[in-house]
């Protein structure tokens, strides 16, 4: 997962695309920026992101890592980062494996194995309050009672107050109430064929569905890492600045534009 080739994927048959096919990969930030009012002050304030993924695949954690790397402002940032898992998440989807982590991040990982979801939330909040951490990844399986809207709001406030981004991976969880500024649905997408071995799995691709966002327009993309620019590459499949239906629209986005 440390070598990401430049590539773009179509999500076939989903209508008008605003990106370009073929040679140029559109960075995810650009793709999403199309939906935000440019004068909006709070693009950088999305410190709390939730990614819903199946526990049978590592797509949630992988996209969270890719997004975290993409959002890191300073490439020379060598602070450690925290990965908190509760016991169910470890049992279902395993522990992080150092040789498989991105090269720049693998030596800085601090892993917390929390026995319960309450402990995982405690560890997340402590991590968010720590100024020496680059970002925090949380992985909680299911919908534990402890992770209610209040707990989610606490995490959001801590993340925004101290400026430490939180990428919360929810494994096999319902879309419950939460205060995350961005909520994604993630699933694995077929990878492109590598150049030298057409039968081998290629660089990872994810089907990312941003179904609720604070300042962004919801949308669906196929996302993959862009090895040339070291950023997430995307092909926007729909919702190019158009709000199809009032019910589909993020409430926060509406209030932000008002």
């Amino acid at each position: 997962m440390d070598r990401f080739a430049a590539s773009v994927s179509f999500l076939p048959g989903t209508g008008r695309g605003t990106g370009k096919a073929g040679g140029g990969a559109l960075p995810l930030q650009n793709a999403m920026r199309g939906a935000i009012p440019l004068h909006h002050p709070a693009r950088a304030s999305c410190r709390h992101t939730e990614l819903f993924a199946s526990a049978d695949e590592a797509s949630g954690a992988a996209l969270a890592l890719a997004l975290a790397r993409d959002a890191m402002d300073d490439p020379a940032d060598h602070r450690p980062w925290l990965w908190v898992q509760d016991r169910a998440a470890i049992r279902l989807s395993g522990r992080p494996y150092r040789p498989g982590l991105p090269t720049g991040l693998r030596h800085r990982l601090i892993h917390v194995a929390a026995p319960r979801a309450e402990d995982a939330l405690f560890a997340l909040e402590e991590g968010l309050r720590c100024r020496d951490l680059a970002f925090v990844i949380g992985e909680v399986a299911g919908n534990p009672a402890a992770l209610d809207f209040t707990a989610s709001r606490r995490l959001s406030l801590a993340a925004e107050r101290h400026g430490v981004p939180l990428w919360m991976v929810r494994l096999s969880a319902r879309h419950d109430l939460g205060s995350a500024r961005m909520r994604w649905d993630v699933a694995a997408a077929p990878s492109p064929s590598p150049r030298w071995n057409r039968d081998a799995p290629g660089d990872p691709r994810w089907r990312a569905d941003l179904f609720r966002a604070h300042v962004f327009q919801p949308g669906q993309w196929i996302v993959g890492d862009d090895g040339e620019r070291h950023s997430l590459a995307v092909f926007a499949t729909d919702h190019g600045g158009v709000v199809p239906d009032a019910g589909d629209r993020s409430l926060a986005a509406g209030s932000g534009q008002a």
Partner: protein, 506 residues
Amino acid sequence: MAAWCPTLAIDRWRLGQDRPDPSAPLILIGETAHGPRITAVSPPARAAGAREGMLLADARALAPGLVVHPADPAGDHAFLETLALWVQRWGPWSALDAPDGLIVDVTGVAHLFGGEDALMVDARACFAARGLQVRLAIAPTAGAAWALAHHGPDRSALAEGVDPLDALRDLPVAALRLDDAVLLLLDRLGLKRIGDLAAIGRPALARRFRDRRAPAANPLVRLDQFAGRVPEPILPVIAAPVPTVLRRLIEPLRHRDLLDRVVADLALALARRLEAHGQGARRLDLTLWKVDGGVLRRALELAAPTRDAAHITRLFAHKLDDCDAGFGIEVVRLSAPWAEPLMLSQTDLEASAQQHGTSLAACIDRLTARLGAAAVAMPVPRASHLPERAQGWVTPDPTRAMQEELAFHARPLKLLDRAEPIAVIYEAPDGLPRLFRWRGAVHEIARAEGPERIAPEWWREKGGARLRDYYRIEDSSGRRYWIYRRGLPGDGRGGVPEWFLQGLCG
């Protein structure tokens, strides 16, 4: 050094008198269920026939001229406590030996006074100056010193290295600090001297007193303590001053706001003094002396030890509403008679953590304090080709120096703690499966790369361990896994090879 004041109560009573008469037959009595009983006897009264424990009526019958006064055991004990602090002029530690004795640790101090004899002469002179009769003795063990002071010649010293059992064999068994019941028993057994007891032999004594746990009831324990074979810790007396602050005011106070200012100053000073001792106040006494001679007292008790000056001031503000200053208050005193240990705490740490975030060390400390040291870890590479052994977990330390690590071809993002068996459908037993079933779902393998053969580590595992063929696969919906086949068909190390899913790729 053991100091025994045989007539402590009498001496103390005499010290309280203006002009005591040493020749008066003085006795002190205590009230009991059967009437007044004698607790202390002066030498003239003893000569007249009075004894401790005698009923007053019986003593009066023997000697009608007895001078009788009530005893004050609590006062005697308090006096002994102050005496215990006073005798620390001869040694760093002293202990009470209730009701009328003291033990002072003079190990290695005697040369400061010119030897043990000179030390005892000095001590005797000091006791005499205070009007106290005393018998002193120095011995290597507290038990031997006690025995010498009570039953040996006065001012006798037992040199270091002399066996007390041997030197003091002629002392009575009462010198062993035993209960009356045990003394009676030993007396009936005909054991009168320490030498008799020491000659019997340990097994017999141990068997006879096997169910006596208390040292005072077990002669064997007392003998061992006497001879220094078992340690006998003594509980030292340490002075604990009551934190007190006092303000004398130049101009008598008549107004409330000035009094509040003084109380706030006192609370601040008291808090500083408590902080120096690492204590917090549980009870606070505020005493106000008025110009006209009246005294006002206000006391409060706190639920938890505190030294928060603002808190104390606020609490006293309610208490001072009804106080009548009269012609003015000239002295204000605040003391904390009951203080409990209260560790120094950084109350601002939390606030600054709210403001500026915590450091990594503080964060890790908090996490390990709640979750345990094993829960917070950092992966480090280890020299092994086996995937689950190629990484170890250590205590987080971002500055840890890393050695060269093995460069693997492609590894999954996450590794399951235990590789999970998968049911496979394959065309050839040594090839790649077409379908596999894992966690109840069927995955159709669309693309695969492999095998990457990883041989068992023969220097760690047994000879029958099977090799592994790893495949990086992607199923028809794009999910990527790391699976392996354990063994080869026909390798003679088991039956049909089994398939496992070990890693989840990003």
